[in-house]
């Protein structure tokens, strides 16, 4: 392991930076001097999750050359999986409380009906759909966080890679998969509350009395830990011979085949592994966001993900982290009304309206003028100290 860090000093630097950041946030949070509000801690925690999925995206795109426009779907699936348990367990608590007041103790059927009514009332149903079969078990739902994105990626990837769909075709295909999934979830009879999505996820069952400040800090730590572990995992994957092979696949797939490597297995492994990490990132993100709905999974989210990685710098893991953190924080600053409006005299530029225009044009600028992204600046600094 020592040699791994020695060979990859940037990983060590990254871990140190992340550690310092975590300590700094703790000091500034309400647990410390109270400079940072709880909602800002949540934003930071969510950003760490986005950084994690961006790292996964960087591995699949920047290293393996698969521009997947479906990884945010895996992220969303992770969110849904954990959200189902959160919603079920919390509703169960509320229902049990209200039924306890009755003279006769409730039957299991009555409890289940009442929970069903609470959860599915908005879509005009009270029956538990099949997908909720394991919603009462935290362990099984956490297993789903890993299994469902993993299996979906495995099946989809197997189909796509074996028929040698590559390049933009693969991108379009993954985008279609994402679109199909989000359209499916938008239906009321999808069993996941249609466009209402799952809500109230910030209330963690069993911690009803714990203040949100503490919960958000806990999730912030969990996200930081997940990012650290994910980063090390991927740094290890891409640093060895595996990294060599997947970069070779990115650069010349057919040449790698003639070297005797079964390219499809490699792509499938990378695609599935990153999908699983994306699912885990989503499972950590949505309890902090509090709500998940099908719009989150729409293809555009996956494209944004690609854009973060492009802006941060492809083919370097810290670039993905920088891109995701930079663009998503900037985005919430601009759209949250944090940026001051610019008065041009004849027209006032209101950033909530113009941020997307700016962002869109900056993709163009980055792809045209800074193909290495922000991360490319580091090369510049290192080369010319």
């Amino acid at each position: 392991m020592n040699s791994f860090f020695l060979r990859n000093p940037s990983t060590l630097w990254f871990l140190m930076g992340l550690g310092l950041f975590t300590i700094g946030v703790t000091i500034l949070s309400e647990a410390g001097i109270g400079f940072l509000s709880t909602s800002f801690i949540k934003i930071l925690g969510k950003t760490l999750c986005l950084c994690l999925i961006a790292v996964a995206m960087d591995v699949v795109w920047g290293y393996c050359g698969i521009l997947s426009l479906g990884h945010f779907a895996f992220f969303g699936i992770g969110g849904y999986a954990v959200g189902m348990w959160l919603m079920y367990a919390r509703t169960e608590g509320i229902v049990l409380d209200s039924l306890a007041a009755q003279t006769i103790p409730p039957t299991p059927q009555e409890i289940s009906d009442a929970i069903g009514n609470q959860i599915f009332g908005v879509v005009g149903s009270s029956e538990f759909p099949l997908v909720w079969a394991f919603a009462d078990s935290l362990f099984l739902q956490l297993l789903m966080v890993v299994l469902v994105p993993g299996l979906l990626a495995l099946v989809f990837g197997w189909l796509a890679f074996r028929s040698r769909v590559t390049g933009v075709y693969l991108s379009i295909l993954t985008q279609a998969m994402t679109l199909a999934l989000s359209l499916y979830l938008f239906q009321n009879d999808s069993g996941l509350r249609g466009n209402n999505g799952l809500s109230g996820l910030q209330n963690i069952p069993g911690f009803e009395t714990t203040p949100q400040a503490t919960i958000s800090l806990a999730f912030f730590y969990a996200s930081a830990l997940a990012l650290a572990l994910g980063y090390v995992l991927f740094a290890w994957v891409v640093s060895g011979k595996m990294g060599s092979v997947i970069k070779a696949i990115r650069d010349n797939e057919s040449r790698v085949r003639f070297l005797g490597y079964h390219v499809e297995s490699y792509k499938l492994l990378v695609f599935t592994l990153t999908a699983i990490i994306a699912g885990i990132a989503g499972a950590l993100y949505y309890p902090q966001a509090g709500i998940i709905n099908p719009a989150e999974i729409a293809p555009i989210a996956s494209i944004y993900l690609a854009v973060w990685v492009a802006i941060g710098g492809r083919g370097r893991l810290y670039g993905a982290v920088i891109g995701a953190a930079f663009v998503s924080l900037l985005s919430s600053w601009f759209t949250g009304g944090g940026a001051p409006a610019i008065n041009l005299g004849f027209y006032t530029v209101n950033w909530t309206d113009w941020w997307l225009v700016l962002l869109g044009l900056s993709f163009v600028a980055v792809t045209l003028f800074f193909p290495k992204g922000i991360g490319g600046l580091f090369d510049y600094l290192v080369r010319k100290p």
């Binding site: 011979k241 040449r255 005797g260 079964h262 390219v263 490699y266």
Partner: protein
Amino acid sequence: MSTLLEVSGVSVSFDGFRAINNLSIQIGEPELRAIIGPNGAGKTTFMDIITGKTRPDTGRIIWGDQNISLLGMSESQIAMAGIGRKFQKPTVFEDQTVRANLAMALRNPRGPFSVLFDQQTRAGADRIAEIAAEIGLTDSLARTSGALSHGQKQWLEIGMLLAQDPRLLLVDEPAAGMTSQERAHTTDLLKRAAKTRAVVVVEHDMEFVRRLDCKVTVLHEGSVLAEGSLDHVTANQTVIDVYLGR
């Protein structure tokens, strides 16, 4: 010399154009064989068919001691069976070092999980050093292969072929764009390799073929026109017509 590869009656057409027409060739082991022919004779397509890139419409390709059919095997399976290929245009992985390029080609388990948990071994490093010495790139092992000269890239690719330790090497125009000194080195490389395995060289350059001093097969319009020593085939009237006629 036993037969390693037997191609018989293979045809393939693209949009009605017969690129390979009832082609039959046998390669022994060890053997050095040169394949020559005018443009469009089907040289590259011949290699594509053997390596699994193109599927023939008809014909048989039998490989090795167990007489396995190569039809229906994927490119990577064929490569693992012991057929290595060098492309016309040098295709090395330019973003990676010479060492990484060679390490990827080394004859090791190719499964994704064994690659993921691959440990760099002493033996592997020795073999890389050995090949680097053979192709004259010992000093460049740590360099990015994109920074190599054209000739060095060709050698690196031959080195990668050697690292694969194949029984049959298919080499497409190895001397293109090389200085005469580099050509001499390339010739030596190939001749040495052909002592223990089969090497098939596709080449335009008659001078280079002459230097290889081996059996020559002339392809024309997708089938074998003549076969024998270089002097024998160049004396053949049809071969002269084909070459002059173009």
